[in-house]
Amino acid sequence: MAVRVQREDFDVGVEYRAVVGDDPGIGAAVSFVGLVRDVAGGDRVSAMTLEHYPGMTEKQLATIEAEAHRRWPLSRSVIIHRYGRLLPRDQIVLVITASQHRQAAFEACSFLMDWLKTQAPFWKLEETPDGARWVEAKAGDTAAAARWSTG
């Protein structure tokens, strides 16, 4: 289990190899990468700044990761989330889950992203031709997280 909150970019290949490591019991690894889009709500986005709550962010991510390990038989996992100013096509977030079988890895990865989006204290400020604006939380994200609540 590992959580990192960082300004720097990450290398998916390096992280994948670190998660799978030398564990011959891992039969499935699922990775998700979230990227900065150049369009939001019909407007061009030239950049995005991610603010977070240092301290609470790491705590929340570790809690969410521990919950995934409680619910699924995961061998290993990693969550990396960036902050600071990012440009379209930049990587924002990486989640990798590894397990004996694919179903646990797929489900845990999906769960981690859904919970992260509604629980981890990050906020996005988009730069558009009309100026900067804070991204509003989406009802769809709350609904996606809620589907795991019966666990």
Partner: protein
């Protein structure tokens, strides 16, 4: 008590953090939000729709009826939008 503000709450209130000494009647998170609203137009504006405002006490999400102690770190912020 140390208060932290994030995202548009920080922009509207105008500071990212401050030390406050609320009156003894402020016993819960809900009391604190109500008291903050009385501290000036920036606060009243930022907290006008206070039902959307999330609160964390000592870096853990807290409901409006959660009790507060003098040394707490209390953060107020909008719904999160990471990922």
């Amino acid at each position: 008590m140390r208060l932290l503000y994030f995202a548009w709450l920080r922009s509207k209130i105008g500071v990212s953090e401050e030390e406050v000494d609320p009156p003894a009647s402020v016993a819960t998170v809900g009391d604190l939000v109500a008291w903050l609203k009385t501290r000036g137009p920036h606060y009243a504006d930022a907290l006008a729709h206070d039902s959307v405002v999330k609160v964390a006490v000592n870096q853990t999400y807290a409901k409006r009826d959660a009790p507060l102690a003098r040394g707490d770190e209390v953060a107020l912020f909008p719904p999160v939008t990471g990922g």
